[in-house]
């Protein structure tokens, strides 16, 4: 397997009236072709901002303060706008979280699918239309010819999400980033979409970054997992290893708080408290105010990533 993407010490800051907020703090990971990396964490932990950085789409008060994003041998952060536009949507594509708001309501879905094909591949309208209809069939939309000229509001949520996927894979991207691709969907539709993404991945030798808060999806679909908390990766490793043998108290707490394996009616395990305010910078470990195992060291100094097993890294003072 070859490395497709390498993110090194990515740091993204946002300047807001109350100060400077570090949404992503020295995040590093890598992704191979045909590999699925899951990024999990609670809202506000920086998983979506990480994804937007790779796409070069950090919104205005935000700034990539440091780091490298090496994609197929080139640092994306050194490219100018024009070069990035050529890659975005062509070699790197993204499925956005909300199929309801990410499609343009006044353009037919066909027009939106053809846009990338005409721009990046230079196809004529007729050629793009043909490829586009083929894409809709590929993602499982019946009578694709007829639906090609429909508008987003004429489709159900599952259909729209499939249209989003068709758009994102139109140019056979090498890297696909899926930000909560199935959160808005029902479980039976979710199962369809996940199967579809897996199929496309092996067909196109694509690398997939799957951002989700559903640990069931992570366990079933990903090879490696990065757990983020308050802007940092706190645990990173092979998915099976990480689920069987969680090294960070946050990962362990998350796994234990799921109702899935608890005895019905018994109180669930909880992680007390809530996520820290990212504007208030504290020394020490970001998780220490909620951690059951903390001591003086955790409150004074920030732990480094430690390798506890081959390829399994944990950011915690308590592991050795």
């Amino acid at each position: 397997m070859s490395t497709l993407l390498q993110v090194k010490n990515l740091t993204v800051t946002f300047r807001v009236p109350r100060g400077t907020l570090c949404a992503v703090d020295s995040v590093s990971f890598s992704l191979d072709r045909e590999e699925t990396l899951a990024i999990v964490g609670e809202s506000g932990c920086g998983k979506s901002v990480t994804a937007y950085s790779i796409m070069g789409l950090i919104p205005s008060p935000g700034k990539i303060a440091a780091g490298e994003i090496v994609f197929a041998g080139r640092d994306l952060l050194k490219l100018d706008g024009e070069e990035m536009r050529k890659i975005r949507g062509d070699r790197i594509a993204m499925i956005f979280q909300e199929p309801m708001t990410s499609l343009n309501p006044v353009l037919s879905i066909g027009n939106q699918i053809m846009e990338g094909l005409r721009l990046h591949r230079g196809l004529s309208r007729r050629e793009a239309r043909e490829v586009g209809i083929g894409l809709l069939e590929q993602v499982g939309i019946g009578s694709a010819k007829g639906r090609f000229d429909e508008y987003p509001h004429q489709m159900s949520g599952g259909m729209r999400q499939r249209v989003m996927i068709a758009m994102s894979i139109a140019c056979n991207p090498e890297l696909l980033i899926a930000d909560e691709p199935t959160t808005a969907l029902d479980v039976t539709i979710q199962a369809q979409i996940l199967e579809l993404m897996d199929r496309l991945k092996s067909k196109n030798r694509m690398g997939l970054i799957l951002i989700t808060h559903d640990l069931g999806i992570v366990a079933e679909r990903s090879h490696r997992t990065a757990v983020m908390y308050a802007g940092k990766i706190v645990e990173y490793g092979p998915t099976r290893e990480l689920f069987h043998n969680p090294g960070h108290p946050y990962t362990e707490g998350l796994l234990r708080s799921l109702p899935q394996d608890a005895r019905p009616g018994q109180p669930l395990h909880t992680i007390p408290g809530s996520v820290p305010d990212l504007l208030v910078r504290q020394p020490g470990c970001g998780f220490c105010n909620r951690c059951p195992a903390k001591d003086w060291q955790c409150e004074t100094a920030e732990p480094e990533m430690k390798e506890i097993d081959s390829g399994h890294f944990v950011r915690c003072w308590k592991v050795r």
């Binding site: 809202s43 039976t188 069931g216 366990a219 689920f243 109702p259 809530s274």
Partner: protein, 324 residues
């Protein structure tokens, strides 16, 4: 009979227009539903979006009249209640909403939000009201310092606690919870689930608990009803429905849930296609367009919801043949 609330042959149709000049058609949101919630019992209701579960909740609240069918509270039909009885009913049934961001008035302080039911029902005012509100806040894990704050100062989990405190203000007997934990992060979800279970134990509350998350349903429910396209397709006790299901839709729902432990022994059933439109539901069994076991009779004859085993009802022609 120990039923707190019962719904019999409940139907709710909405007129909708298709296209600008289209003939008004009927959207059959709820199409013949029988349900009951016993005293101190949690009925978990699961199903995909558009199956009618939220409409049933609004009908049970008395927020809109059913097209046909009856709802009875403690044995008395809602239609036959006089003014006092109706007021009492309104107090006894309260709702917790899905979205903790839009269900609280952003211009009211927390103390006023939680205290409003006391004013509306004329139960308390002034210092007495304040005292009661503080008691409620403490009960849901908030403190006195939160009394004068506005909703935007709170996280999703805390807002959900405020909504729960407001619902508890009038000492209800039945709480209707429409996806109360779906919008929350996992660690917060567990906190709210624990709070709801604690309140149920402490006050003997009944719950009508809607969610699409089957692991949450398993954890909380005494009995379960699975809905599909405006109908209940299977209902029974928790373990019966989830472990000894008798309907192919329940089986498909369960198999579609991604699981942490890779101990899956049976193959996953991936249903093809989407939920059919409730404006034009399929003839025969509503599930036949997506059912992997469909046979000719399913396309023509709608299966009735029948008692297949003791206290376990399913609406499928082939329940026994398929699953026993």
């Amino acid at each position: 009979m120990n039923d707190l609330i019962t719904a019999t042959s409940l139907v709710k149709h909405f007129p909708v227009k298709t296209g600008r000049f289209g003939k008004p058609q009927l959207l059959k949101a709820v199409d013949g539903v029988d349900l009951r919630v016993g005293k101190g019992e949690t009925l978990g209701v699961a199903g995909e979006s558009g199956c009618g579960k939220s409409t049933v909740a609004r009908l049970l609240m008395g927020l809109m009249p059913p097209t046909s069918g009856t709802i009875a509270y403690e044995g008395k039909s809602l239609n036959l209640m006089d003014r006092d009885e109706r007021l009492r009913f309104r107090k006894s049934v309260q709702m917790i909403f899905q979205d903790p961001f839009s269900s609280l008035n952003p211009r009211m302080r927390v103390g006023d939000i939680v205290g409003e039911p006391f004013t509306v029902h004329g139960l308390a005012a002034g210092a007495r009201k304040r005292e009661l509100v503080l008691g409620l806040l403490a009960k849901v894990g908030l403190s006195e310092e939160h009394f004068y704050r506005y909703p935007h100062e709170f996280s999703g989990g805390q807002r959900q606690r405020i909504g729960i405190a407001r619902a508890l203000a009038v000492s209800p007997k039945l709480l209707i919870a429409d996806e109360p934990v779906s919008a929350l992060d996992i660690s917060i979800q567990a906190q709210i689930i624990n709070l709801l279970m604690e309140l149920k134990r402490e006050h003997g509350l009944s719950f009508f608990f809607i969610t699409h998350d089957l692991s949450v349903i398993r954890h909380l429910s005494d009995r379960i009803a699975i809905m599909y396209l405006g109908k209940v397709v299977e209902t029974g006790t928790r373990d019966e429905v989830l472990d000894r299901f008798l309907h192919p839709y329940t089986q498909a729902l369960l198999s579609a849930v991604p699981r942490i432990a890779p101990d899956r022994t049976t193959a996953r059933i991936v249903l093809q296609g989407d939920l059919p439109s409730p404006v034009d539901p399929p003839a025969g069994c509503p599930f036949h367009t997506r059912c992997p076991y469909v046979e000719d009779i399913c396309r023509t004859d709608p299966p009735p919801l029948e008692e297949k085993e003791a206290a376990h009802l399913a609406a499928c022609h082939f329940s026994t043949k398929l699953f026993r």
